[in-house]
């Protein structure tokens, strides 16, 4: 039959099923097809912390949301247009998130009394009016899959496992996705198990053909490719981009990468990825604990390697003493914190901007370290290279704050030309740098570079520069142990000043204020970039003016941040925490920013944020001063 083709500018699909149903793979494949097709996209995987929660229960539901469009988009979307639910629990767990009128595609196979009960349904929703608001398409996808693959002689159970590929085929047909990448992928993935491979490929094709032939679907949708800057693209998750960024930091600095790490969700994928890249001289050391991971990285840094440790919030807590040692010894060290919900074990698989204050202050003594935060999955690459630049140039531990959403979410990435990547010069010390009282040539490990205040990095094996460093306070210049009060005061201030010097190399904050008439600035950091950008666009569409800026450097801040804040009557700071950046801004600039805070383990919802921004813009425009305490004349002057 001929199908109608309908144009759409964007679609949000959520695949949901049991943890064992392969929903992450299904979503990932759909995303790859979509990326290859040329749409802009953004994804949100969401899975339980348990490896296999009891089958068919609500806690066991795993989902993958993909938002794709013919224009550039910033978030995985608030609310799906299409829900694919592979069992009753998946339907129940996700129904609350979808819009009325959305399509719901259901595998009815598991809608048995037992499974309905397990999901908490007293009645079968497919047989009541519970789903009347939605366009429901219920089929026994499992039976259709088993039927399609029966020639391969698999057990019924194994055959049924290919149902996710059947669903993928069906959705691929609906949205005109290219099929070759998935077929190639399946052939490669199951190369060693021909019957499984053939069953999956066949199920995938059967799903596609079902869409084409069934009368249940009369419309096929078309979402044109999004205009993108010319270049070569690939789809990339934050963890993968971050791992690549670390490899690039290593090649750009010429320093062999040494990763000391202990497995922890959601950071482990960086360890897995880097362990595949030994040909770049990468050493991956799976340590006995978090402390040993960072300790080994610091030891390698002493020896002239690019020392890296990767973890999440609980791991940072354990590493803090060693990070403090790195501050004292002034050695380059990259500390990657893929933040997750806290405190304590918290929400291991959910996202949160949990650790900004821990990164900033979570050590004994005055122990400042630079903090860099990527704003999108692909941006993790650039942020890792930038963190490397700072660590190596300034001889300091640097905290790279990713989060669970960035780690697992993905988006198209324009692959950079390696020639365009910055070169990072480690400038190892090779010569004595001081003449002693008796005219002898000496090496002073704490004699600083006047511009950067960085100390020389002399690695073992360099003759004549033998020296001892450690956690005890060092005398200015010569670096021997010093308990002198004035020296300690000087060294504490100098370590702080060194971190502040980094601001000399940070570009001014980019403020997006297209009309130039905004009174309200929305300022964010890290992974809220997408939701804030989407919300700001929505607000502007209604004719209101609002400015947006996003911080990559959290310590030190860009030099002009204070001026930017003072240019606006009101500043809103959306965060997935209770106001950690807000606190820093208030303390530093005495600006009473307005927080917008959600700690749900999920990215901020753009639509809700847009409402909050609208309220603030309206309040500000009507009074000129939402808080009633600003000196308007001063603000006008600053503008």
């Amino acid at each position: 039959m001929t199908k109608q083709v309908k144009q759409l500018d964007r679609v949000i699909i959520r695949f949901a099923g049991d943890s064992g149903d392969g929903m992450q793979l299904t979503g990932d494949r759909f995303t790859q097809e979509t990326a290859t097709f040329g749409n802009d996209l953004s994804t949100l995987p969401n899975f339980p912390a348990e490896i296999r929660a009891p089958a068919g229960t609500l806690p066991g539901v795993s989902s993958f949301q993909v938002h794709f469009a013919d224009h550039d988009i910033l978030t995985p979307g608030d609310s799906p247009d299409v829900l694919v639910a592979m069992n009753p629990a998946a339907l129940k767990a996700n129904l609350g998130d979808i819009k009325p009128g959305a399509s719901v595609i259901v595998d009815s196979h598991d809608f048995t009394t037992r499974n309905l009960n397990r999901a908490g349904y007293a009645e079968n929703p497919l047989e009541t009016d519970a789903l009347d608001e939605y366009a429901v398409h219920a089929f026994d996808l499992t039976d259709m899959t088993v039927e399609a693959v029966k020639e391969f002689g698999l057990s019924r159970k194994d055959a049924g496992r290919a149902k996710n590929m059947f669903a993928l085929g069906l959705l691929s047909w609906m949205y005109g996705r290219p099929t070759e990448p998935t077929i190639t992928f399946l052939e490669r993935r199951f190369a060693k198990a021909p019957d499984i491979r053939d069953a999956n490929v066949t199920a995938f094709k059967a799903g596609w053909n079902f869409g084409e032939t069934t009368e249940a679907f009369v419309v096929q949708y078309e979402i044109k490719p999004a205009p993108m800057e010319s270049g070569t693209y690939r789809n990339i998750t934050g963890n993968l981009a971050l791992a690549y960024g670390l490899v690039a930091g290593s090649t750009q600095s010429g320093l062999p990468l040494f990763l000391g790490s202990y497995p922890i969700t959601p950071a482990s994928d960086i360890l897995h990825e880097l362990s595949k890249h030994k040909r770049f001289g990468v050493t991956t050391f799976q340590a006995e604990d978090e402390i040993a991971g960072v300790g080994a990285a610091l030891g390698a840094a002493f020896g002239g390697a690019l020392g890296v440790t990767t973890t999440s919030g609980p791991g940072i807590a354990l590493k803090s003493e060693t990070i403090g040692l790195g501050v004292m010894m002034e050695l380059p060290l990259l500390v990657v914190d893929v933040q997750r919900g806290g405190p304590s074990t918290g929400l291991p698989t959910k996202t949160e901007q949990a650790d900004l204050l821990q990164a900033m202050f979570g050590r004994n003594g005055e122990a400042p370290i630079p903090i860099v935060a990527p704003r999108s999955p692909a941006d993790c690459f650039d942020a890792a290279v930038e963190a490397t630049r700072i660590a190596v140039t300034y001889r300091t531990p640097v905290m790279l704050l990713s989060d669970g959403y960035l780690a697992n979410g993905s988006e198209p990435w324009r692959i950079p030309e390696t020639d365009d990547l910055p070169m990072i010069d480690p400038q190892f010390a090779t010569e004595p740098n001081h003449t002693g009282a008796k005219g002898q040539e000496e090496f002073w490990p704490y004699l600083r570079d006047e511009d950067t205040l960085a100390r020389p990095w002399a690695v073992p094996g360099t003759p004549g520069l033998e020296h001892r460093i450690g956690g005890l306070e060092k005398g200015d210049g010569h670096g021997n142990i010093s308990y002198d009060p004035a020296n300690h005061d000087l060294m504490v201030r100098t370590r702080q000043a060194k971190v502040e010097r980094i601001a000399d190399t940070i570009p001014p904050l980019e403020v997006d204020d297209p009309s130039g008439e905004a009174d309200v600035l929305v300022l964010g950091w890290g992974s809220t970039y997408g939701p804030i950008g989407a919300a700001v666009r929505q607000v502007r569409k209604t004719g209101l003016h609002v400015a947006q800026a996003h911080l990559r450097h959290l310590n030190p801040f860009p030099k002009d941040l204070g001026d930017v804040l003072k240019r606006y009557d009101a500043v809103m700071v959306p965060e997935m925490n209770l106001g950690q950046l807000s606190m820093l801004l208030r303390a530093r600039y005495l600006v009473d920013v307005v927080g917008y805070n959600h700690v749900r383990g999920l990215p901020l919802r753009a639509a809700e944020l847009a409402d909050a921004i609208t309220d603030l813009v309206e309040a500000t425009t009507s009074t000129g001063d939402p808080l009633g305490d600003a000196d308007t004349a001063e603000k006008e002057a600053a503008r």
């Binding site: 990448p181 390698a300 840094a301 073992p460 001892r468 460093i469 450690g470």
Partner: protein
């Protein structure tokens, strides 16, 4: 030239010095600040005297320590050094040794540092067999924090933190290291310069993690802890010397020895037959020490002949010395294998970034 020609396979990749060295070159300009009479002085002197014999480039030697009295050690040696944080030196040294095969890496630690706060790192360094030498200064007390009992203090020890006596059983560091299947485990005494130096030479020669427990007197907080094995009148009966290939025999005129109990398989001390003691154990029944035995069981049994309480008896020497692959050698081998034929890393990076499903927008 490298030390391949020297008798130190453990230091195979470390460049050799161009000229003979002396102890002065290894002495830093820092004033040594241990208490008068501290056993650490003797160990420092022995190490400063012994390092020139290794014939290594001084700049390729690194001492890493933790926290505690003995951990000040690196400051006094004119090599590269790091005085790190409590308990973590083996982890830090693991990163250093793994990333730099051309360094001779030494860890200086104490009973509190290595066995209490840093116990985890110690056992994992031993099981990985990273190429480094760990000097464990055991004074059976916390010195730097002024006299609390340590994880090697005898049960019932009365200290500032245990006025009614300590309640926890002590570790036997050698047993612990053998339990972690350490490939080189030895014990020596601060005051016996010759024995200390010979054990350190063997430890340096070992490729893998060498753990040397050094009985070290703390005259301030635990004076006399090792008197029985140091006093000229008692030491012959207190020290059980372990020499590879020799029967385990000690006591005045070799009057005592160690045999395996056929009933239990464990070891016990016996009186050896002699002119004065015709009923004693015939000398040929004594256990012959085999430090190279692959199975650590006998070495472990020997370590159990150490008194857990006040030290009246302790085996001294090399308990175990076996050749196993080292973690760091294997890690570097994997990298070499993976990097074979890789010439242009920038190009390889471009290849990596462009891997997977890509598409081009014109």
């Amino acid at each position: 030239m490298t030390t391949e020609s020297l008798p130190f396979p453990g230091l195979r990749d470390v460049p050799a010095a161009d000229a003979p060295q002396n102890r002065k070159e290894f002495t830093s300009d820092q004033e040594v600040r241990w208490c008068p009479g501290c056993g650490d002085y003797a160990v420092l002197a022995a190490v400063q005297g012994f390092l020139p014999d290794l014939g290594l480039k001084r700049e390729n030697i690194v001492f890493v320590s933790g926290i505690g009295c003995s951990s000040r050690f690196p400051y006094y040696l004119d090599t590269y050094g790091m005085h790190s944080i409590h308990g973590r030196a083996p982890a830090i040294a693991t990163g250093l040794a793994t990333s730099r095969s051309d360094l001779s890496v030494w860890v200086v630690t104490g009973d509190g540092d290595a066995l209490s706060i840093g116990g985890n790192h110690l056992i994992h360094a031993l099981r990985r067999n990273v190429n480094m030498t760990i000097l464990l200064f055991n004074n059976r007390i916390y010195g730097l924090t002024k006299g609390q009992y340590s994880p090697t203090s005898e049960l019932g020890k009365v200290t500032k933190s245990t006025p009614m006596g300590s309640l926890d059983n002590p570790f036997n560091p050698v047993s612990l290291a053998l339990g972690a299947e350490g490939t080189f485990v030895a014990r020596t005494i601060d005051s016996d310069r010759r024995h200390l130096t010979s054990v350190l030479s063997a430890a340096a020669a070992h490729r893998g993690t060498a753990l040397v427990e050094i009985y070290q007197n703390c005259p301030i907080f635990n004076d006399g802890a090792f008197d029985a094995i140091k006093d000229n009148d008692t030491k012959a009966d207190a020290i059980i010397p372990l020499v590879h290939g020799e029967p385990v025999r000690f006591g005045t005129e070799g009057s005592k020895g160690v045999v395996r109990d056929p009933a239990t398989g464990t070891l016990r001390v016996v009186d050896v037959a002699g002119p004065d003691n015709p009923d004693g154990e015939p000398a040929e029944n004594l256990l012959v020490h085999d430090a190279h035995a692959e199975d650590p069981t006998t070495a472990f049994a020997l370590s159990r002949l150490t008194d857990a309480g006040y030290l009246n008896q302790a085996p001294i020497g090399i308990f175990r010395q076996v050749d196993h692959p080292t973690y760091d050698d294997l890690a570097r081998e994997q990298i070499q294998t993976a990097a074979a034929g890789e010439t242009d890393t920038r190009q390889a990076l471009a290849g990596l970034l462009n891997s997977g499903d890509t598409w081009t927008v014109v």
